[in-house]
Symmetry: C2
């Protein structure tokens, strides 16, 4: 059974859950209830819905009706939460296999870990350290990297370079470059990430420079255009984001995008 | 009428509001409804409740029953939201006068502005600029200072100095000082704020160094101990905070405390 997911919040799921026969049985002690969460980064919600429908109608759907599957879009990530009785474990295994088969590396967690936990585990596993260089997010990325206790194992520190002069004085971004291509550009994002990495001597430097709005947009560089970059032992990995929504939404989504870029590089990187 | 305030959220107020006669009348177009918000920093909730009761029973309480007063504690700030019909304006003016008379400078806003807006207006009015130096908040203060559009008028940038070596290399905090008094100390908070101010050439430098927890606390420096400092043209203003709650709560409350310290100094400071 696939329930339509609430937008951005899991809480309403509980209203469904407590009126569900399966959950009622579990609450009454009649059955152990398992819950598993799969998280994806990249695919649109519609694609996930289609994959779930195809699986339901497909040859490996035995027992699918015994799974209670809820999907939820949050901060650009897709969450698939499944509740099931132990007898439905083979059906859940088949669903998980279908998700992995279709989405591949877009499945970034199938063991309930958040992207923050995945990144933290990857950094710790490699003994890698990070430094940040932030313009429009102005510290929110570094702040998020420090959300978890023990983050000093990988977060060394960072720079908030809101004014262009600070990008030059603290990160070594050349003034001529800023004048030629503007602060919101791939070239400046690369220079910021390199500057942070070099100055703090870390494995990785992560930078953000963008137009968070609501003012400051132009035809060429509209509100929501953000350049980010991770620089590391394997070179520079810049990305251009085109984000919609409010100033707060642009900044929040940028932070999540940086965590996923770092995660992807850490997953595929060679030995440090 | 004084309604008990919901803890930490205004939303439940609306449930009360829409069933209220006064509001019903306003929604029906029968009456213009005014709403005013007074914000306080410092007094405990119980003191505010006592002041409201004393006013209600006092000589200037004429028409107090026509005011719908709700109080709310959020992020350590107290909010007093009053809804009233235009005919009750004198009663509201008397209430506002009573709040100002009792709480003085603890009333930081009586025109609906948040502390973020008050600080932004003060900084812009003085043409003052700020730089941050953050350890346990790790960028959340700078990120908050950049929440508002146009914040580049006063926020130049800042430093996330999570590791001690970064406090030394980027802010000039002496290694010997760190070893002697430890990173979480008034002396290091002062050195960090000075370092940020000097390196970015700003009017003010604001620093944070603390034990956000849940680990890392000692008998002498327990979880929740945070030293902050604002350095400016009139010298250094360090403060010691003793905060309770989770890691997230300690960090969030620290950010709010820094905004209020900056606001207080900007309110009383001489000309820049």
């Amino acid at each position: 059974m696939v329930l339509p997911g609430p937008p951005g919040e899991l809480r309403p799921m509980w209203d469904d859950a407590v009126t569900d026969d399966l959950v009622r049985a579990a609450l009454a002690g009649a059955a152990e209830l398992r819950q598993a969460t799969v998280r994806l980064w990249g695919p649109p919600e519609a694609e996930l819905a289609e994959v779930l429908r195809a699986h339901e109608d497909g040859p490996s759907a035995d027992g699918f009706a015994d799974l209670e599957v809820t999907t939820c879009l949050r901060d650009g990530e897709l969450e698939v939460v499944t509740r099931y009785a132990p007898t439905a474990q083979p059906a859940y295994d088949a669903l998980l296999a279908a998700l992995h088969a279709h989405f591949g590396a877009q499945v970034f967690s199938d063991d309930d870990r958040t992207v923050d936990e995945v990144v933290a585990d990857l950094l710790r596993g490699r003994g890698a350290t990070v430094a940040t260089a932030e313009s429009c997010t102005a510290g929110l990325l570094a702040g998020r990297l420090a959300d978890r206790a023990g983050s000093s194992a990988y977060l060394q520190g960072g720079f908030v370079t809101y004014a262009n002069e600070v990008k030059t004085s603290q990160l070594g971004v050349e003034e001529a470059l800023l004048q030629r291509v503007g602060a919101v550009s791939e070239e400046v994002a690369v220079a910021m990430a390199r500057g942070a990495r070099e100055r703090l001597g870390t494995t990785y430097g992560i930078s953000v420079t963008g137009v968070a709005g609501p003012d400051g947009g132009t035809a060429e560089k509209p509100v929501g255009l953000v350049h980010v970059c991770v620089s590391g032992p394997d070179g520079d990995e810049p990305r251009e984001l085109r984000l919609g929504g409010s100033r707060a939404h642009v900044r929040a989504r940028t932070v999540v995008s940086c965590l996923h870029l770092l995660r992807e590089l850490l997953t595929t990187a060679g030995p440090v």
